[in-house]
């Protein structure tokens, strides 16, 4: 079983991506949609608000209105676009968010601790959180009957409300729940770069016990979360994680052949 996460950043050719992934049989896909969500929010006069946590992580402030736009892009536009493309390739895709059948359930954070204008502050009204349980029975039910799950945030809180979650960690938790051998995380960067400005500074291999070290040494922002996801996947029994580029031809095959940062 192969679990693939494809990001939602600008410039990803989803046709090339789907063509490649559709040649594999036994997989589950998790996708993002951040670029499209930023565009829609701006077009509707509600530009996205990003906040920085005390440890320096940036995340999208997800109030109720943002959650509506979030569902429109992630569960609406992106999910059904990918399901449609897979159906055209003969893959019987079924698109689900974490809300559906409580596929991804967890805890909504009461408040965020952020840094803004140099001050540490409490920020409420944010609907984000962390997944604590994957409904793996629903995934098996679909897989065993010939369907291919195409999954997207949001997740669902124990109280039944939609919560924004980190897509890379969601993919890692799905990979662990399914006992997948391989987790591939594709985005608009070729992998872990020693120097974010220099694409040639790609770290090609990390052993599982160097993940923590790399996180502190090189990784910034989003890459830190990908490494956390990779660490969690490996700790949960996944044998191999590859952080690769989603752009260009056959991105999945290239990652499987070790192009990007391989973590074992």
């Amino acid at each position: 079983m192969l679990v693939v996460k494809v990001g939602g950043s600008k410039g990803i050719d989803y046709d090339a991506f789907v063509d490649d992934l559709a040649s594999y049989k036994d997989f589950v896909l998790i996708h993002g949609g951040s670029h499209e969500l930023n565009e829609l929010s701006t077009r509707l006069g509600r530009p996205p608000r990003f906040v920085t946590s005390i440890s320096g992580q940036t995340s999208r402030y997800t109030d109720l209105e943002t959650l509506e736009l979030f569902n429109m892009i992630y569960a609406g536009k992106m999910n059904k676009m990918l399901v449609e493309k897979f159906q055209q390739k003969g893959i019987n895709a079924v698109g689900l968010s974490g809300l559906d059948g409580r596929l991804a359930e967890g805890r909504q954070k009461e408040a965020l601790k952020i840094v803004e204008d140099g001050k540490k502050k409490i920020l409420r009204g944010d609907h984000s959180g962390t997944i604590e349980r994957i409904n793996v029975q629903l995934l098996h039910l679909l897989l065993e009957n010939g369907y291919t799950p195409v999954l997207t945030p949001p997740a669902i809180s124990f109280e039944g409300t939609a919560i924004n979650i980190d897509g890379d960690r969601f993919a890692a938790q799905v990979a662990v729940a399914l006992g997948a051998e391989t987790l591939i995380i594709l985005s608009n960067v070729p992998g872990l770069l020693r120097d974010i400005e220099d694409p040639a500074s790609l770290v090609q291999k990390i052993s599982r016990d160097e993940v923590e070290l790399s996180m502190n040494q090189f990784a910034k922002g989003r890459m830190k979360k990908k490494l956390m996801g990779a660490g969690e996947a490996l700790a949960g029994g996944v044998r191999r994680v590859v952080l690769g580029s989603a752009t260009g031809p056959s991105p999945v095959t290239r990652a499987l052949q070790g192009e990007g940062t391989v973590i074992e």
Partner: protein, 55 residues
């Protein structure tokens, strides 16, 4: 501008440019506090939210 620490009762000095929802630490007992209002200056225990993910 100062207010009482709800944990240990000591007086906590608020910075001149204090804003609502700002996080302060009680100098005496070290607990994390949140500025609930500026007039009158009022402090409460900040929610316990361990730092982790959330896209």
């Amino acid at each position: 501008m100062s207010a009482e620490c709800p944990e240990c009762g000591s007086k906590v000095e608020l910075p001149e440019d204090a804003v609502e929802n700002e996080i302060l630490e009680c100098a005496l007992c070290g607990v994390e506090l949140e500025v609930i209002s500026l007039s009158p200056p009022t402090l409460e225990l900040a929610p316990e939210e361990k730092e982790d993910w959330g896209e």
